[in-house]
Each structure stands twice: as C-alpha cells, then as structure tokens.
Symmetry: C2
Subunit: 317 residues, 2 copies
C-alpha cells in the first residue's frame, strides 16, 4: 500500500488524509493554513511544511495529492521534487494538466476529481466517509502512466468511492453540464426572482427553493470552480442559451412550450431511471489499449469498483 502525502487540508484534502489513514495507509499532510494545520495535528495527524512533505514523498515514493484551490496549484507544482507520483482533486482537469505540463513536466501525473463535497469548508468539515459511494473521476488520457493510474485508482477505491475513467476534456465537458451550469442557472434564477420584489419572494415555494439552493454556496468557491472550467462552461452556457431562446421564441410565436417541457421531463426521467452498472468486466491495466478501453467504459456510464494487482474490475450497464 503506497504512502499518501496530501497538500492542502481543507474539506476535500482533509477528508482524503483521514480516509487514507483509515484505510491503513501511512499518511502525512501539509497546508498553508495555520488553522487547518493546528486542527489536523490536534486530531493526531502528521502535518509538516510543504517542502518537507514533498521531499518525504520523493524519498518514500509516495503518491502526492494536491488538494489546494486551482489558483494555488502552481505554487505547489513549483515546489515539487523531480519525478514524484502526483494526482490532484481539483474540480477541473484540463487546466491542471496544462499547468503540470508547463511547470512540472517531470511529474508522473494522473489527475483526479472526487465528486463529493458539502457547502462547508476547512479541516473541521472533513470526514473520512465523505467519498463513500461517490464517483471519483481518474484521468485516462493517452500517455498516462499506468502505474500511477493504478495508484490513484487504488486510493480512490480505498476511500469507498468508485472510479469513473475519462479523459480530462471529457471530464471537463461533463461537469460543466451537470455541476457548473447548475450554479450559473441557480444564480440567474435567484436574481430574476429577487427582481420581483417582496411580493415574489413571499410567494416563492418549492420550485424556486430547489432551483436556487446552490446559489447559497460560497461565491468565491463557485467562481473558482466555474471560471476554472471556462471553455467547457461556455459550451454548456451556449447550449442553455440556445434552448432557453428556443423556448422564448416558441412561447412568443405559438404560445407553446411543449418541446422544452417534454424534452426536460424525458431528460429528468433518464437521470432517475439510468441503468445500474451491473455487468462485470475486467481491464488489464498493462495492456496497450487499457486507457482507451477505460475511457470508453466511463463514456458509457461504467465504473471501476475494485483493483487486483494490475487488473481493474469494472461494472457497466
């Protein structure tokens, strides 16, 4: 079991450190936040300076998990010793991969993104069980180091997550649609509602409450997440603008919203009724087409649920 070094001990990093330790790994962490460092040490975790943590990772051939916000990633990369095993938990994958290629091309990097979180933040909000049952995307781009791909997959599985393999671009396009666009639309809806004044707010019920809920998240975190995925989010916003504009045109011209409402209903049912991935399959991580097979599996809604040496056990629907 490979040692784990986590840099950044907020909600996600703190949860990774706890979950890895709970799974029996040797772990240590580092953070620029004095408050998080004090709190993590008080909880019995080994917290050292960033440079010391990274040097120890090199010496132990550990897996380094970068768990700082996107704007702080570059500084961590600059401090990275040559050739370490590296992953991250940032919510966007293309921009981090570009940064690694530019700043730390020597790193053995395979990106990751656990799809878990709460509106809370900081070490105190962390939880060893945060990732249980969650999807953890592991980047399966051509050229990824199969050995590190296995390291990241093993860590994700050890926390109770299942692994969804995808290219960085596929990941970014998907989360733009199902994670970042929802935040933009919630903000827009909240503002349009508030423009209706006290009367509108006094009549707001379930649909407005549901549709605006994530607008209550911390704006600086939402901004960092959405702005970090600019290219893919622009595509998703354009898709939404096109569909909303078509609804507007249809309502204005014929008075009908049939196409909009029925397509939305069918899509919601598709989400609710999506097939459970129950068909077992295996992927040999040492085979030359392993990454392609894994990406194809993820694109069809499949997941890796166990790792046995270099054999990934997967489920597809």
């Amino acid at each position: 079991m490979r040692d784990v070094c986590v840099v950044g001990l907020g909600l996600i990093g703190g949860s990774v450190l706890r979950a890895a330790a709970a799974a029996g790994r040797v772990t240590w962490g580092a953070t620029a936040s004095q408050a998080d460092a004090v709190a993590a040490r008080a909880d019995g975790f080994d917290v050292v300076g960033v440079d010391a943590a990274l040097e120890r990772a090199r010496a132990q051939d550990a897996l380094v998990v970068v768990a700082v916000p996107l704007p702080a990633v570059e500084d961590v990369l600059r401090a990275l010793p040559e050739g370490v095993r590296l992953t991250d938990v940032v919510s966007v994958k293309g921009p981090v991969a570009d940064l690694v290629a530019r700043v730390a091309p020597h790193a053995r990097y395979v990106g990751g993104h656990p799809m878990a979180g709460t509106s809370a933040s900081g070490w105190a909000a962390g939880d060893a069980a945060l990732f249980r049952g969650a999807a953890w995307v592991v980047a399966a781009d051509d050229g990824a180091d199969p050995d590190v791909f296995a390291d990241v997959t093993a860590l994700a599985l050890a926390t109770g997550a299942h692994v969804v393999p995808a290219s960085a671009a596929e990941h970014d396009a998907a989360v733009a649609r199902v994670s970042h666009l929802p935040h933009v639309l919630a903000a827009v809806l909240a503002s349009v509602g508030a423009d209706g004044g006290p009367l509108a707010l006094s009549l707001a019920a379930g649909s407005f409450g549901d549709g605006t809920r994530v607008a209550g998240s911390r704006p600086e975190l939402v901004r960092a997440m959405c702005e970090g995925n600019r290219g893919a989010l622009l595509d998703a916003v354009d898709d939404a603008l096109g569909r909303l504009g078509a609804a507007r045109g249809s309502l204005a011209s014929t008075g009908a919203l049939a196409k909009t409402i029925e397509a939305g209903h069918a899509a919601r049912l598709a989400l609710r009724d999506r097939p459970e991935p129950t068909t077992a399959t295996t992927v040999d991580l040492t085979s030359p087409d392993a990454l392609e097979v894994l990406r194809d599996l993820g694109a069809r809604g499949g997941r890796v649920v166990a790792l046995d040496g270099t054999t990934a056990h997967a489920r597809t629907s």
Copy 2:
C-alpha cells in the same frame, strides 16, 4: 359561515372541499371526472352534477370555487347562474379575470390562488391540511366586490392559509418569476445535462438533482401552468436570457463570473433572510381605499392573517 361549492375535485379542489368541511362549512362539489366523483362520495362528501351544484350555490348564496384546469374554466363559467359569488384556484389570474369578464360578466368574481401543491393529482391526493401555512393570493384589483373579497379571504384563512393580496397582474408577474421560470430553467438544465450522455449523468450530484427536480412534474400540468401565463412568463424569460447572456459575455471576454455569482448569492440570502411579517395592522374592508391599501401591503411582503367582520388583521415586516 358561507356555504362552499367546489367545481373540480382534483388535488386542489378536493383539498379545498375537505378543508372547508373540516372548518365547519356546508359544502358540496361537482366534477367531470367520474373517478373523482366516486372517490369523493365514498369519502362521505356531497357530489352532484355541475348544473345542480351551481343552481344550489345560487339558491344558497354560496361561494363557488372553480378548481378545474384553465382550459376547462370557460365551460364552467358558461353554466354559471346570474350573480353568484365566484372565486377560482387557477395558477394564473389575469387570463381568468379576462375570461370571466367576457363569458360571465354578471358573476361577483374575486380570483384566488393557493400557493400549495404536490406532484400528485386527483381526489385521492387531496388533503384537508394542504393549505396550512401556505400563501393564498386573493385578487385585490380595483372594482373587486369587498363582500366577495371577504368571502374568499375567510375561506382561505379557514383552510389554515394566510392571504396575500395582489392585483391579478402583480400576481402573474410574481409567479412567472418564482414558479413558472423555475420549471422552464429546470427543463433546460435537464436537457443540457442529458446531452452530455451517460458520463455526465454518472457524475451528476446534488446541484444537478436540485436544479432539475421539478422537471419530473407531469409535463401537461407544467405546460398548462406556464403557457397560461404567457405574457408575464415572457418577461421573466427575457430577464433570465439577459442575465445568462451577460454571464456568457463576461466569461468569454474577461473569464469572470463575479457579477452573476455574487448577485445570485445575495438574492438567495435575501430569500433566506426575508423578514418575518410581525408588525400588526388592520384594514377596514369597507373603506374606499381598502383594495389599494391591501395591494400595497401585499407588494411589501405583508399578509392578512385573520378576519373579524369587515376588519382584516394583517402582518407586515
């Protein structure tokens, strides 16, 4: 206590009939649905034919509550005897008022809209407690009959709701923003997400689930509700298109979403933190400016919470 005649015994009409009976009113109902009629009779309610129900309402000077979907309202109005006290529970008020003025100008009509409901429908889904704690908009347009305004207010209060007075146009503009636009945006978001394929749906978590929840409602009900409020909904959709277009422009040009996200966050906090209406005031329903005072009260987020003869007891923040 005035007798209550409910025409249409689905979720809302059936709940009004039950709640009025539970409050001690003499009640009877009518419905075009044989299934609802059988079920309501089996539950001990007095259900007769539509013509007989309306004739009895005239003879007893009862309040008639039209609780059929908007497309079926005109037929009920055509069957209405001269001069009956009339309200409705349709989710849009301007179009119903126009219809009454055209088809049954003799009716003593004051529109209403209880802001309650579930995704279920039919008599069996009804509940005498459905309106407890809910807002019930009562139309306070100039020229409204103060006597019937008091009848509708008394019925709404008897069901456990509080009354929000507003003009038909103010109501329609408000619900377009906080009730109909959320359905349109949920449909758009669900479709954009589904366009991402199985990978996107396998990564969908809380924000996508919240943002698309009401897209699971029955499409024919959502269409009837949204299409019935065409004019006001177009304004709300245009507001959303403008804000979403501005977000797109800002993201494309500067990469920033600060304005969108921060405005949405402030609006969501305004919803969460809106002041409880705790300042007591009274409105004399017989005074010449009563309707104007009531509309102003509703526009400021106030509500009527009790009725004592012709004195309305209200709360404002």
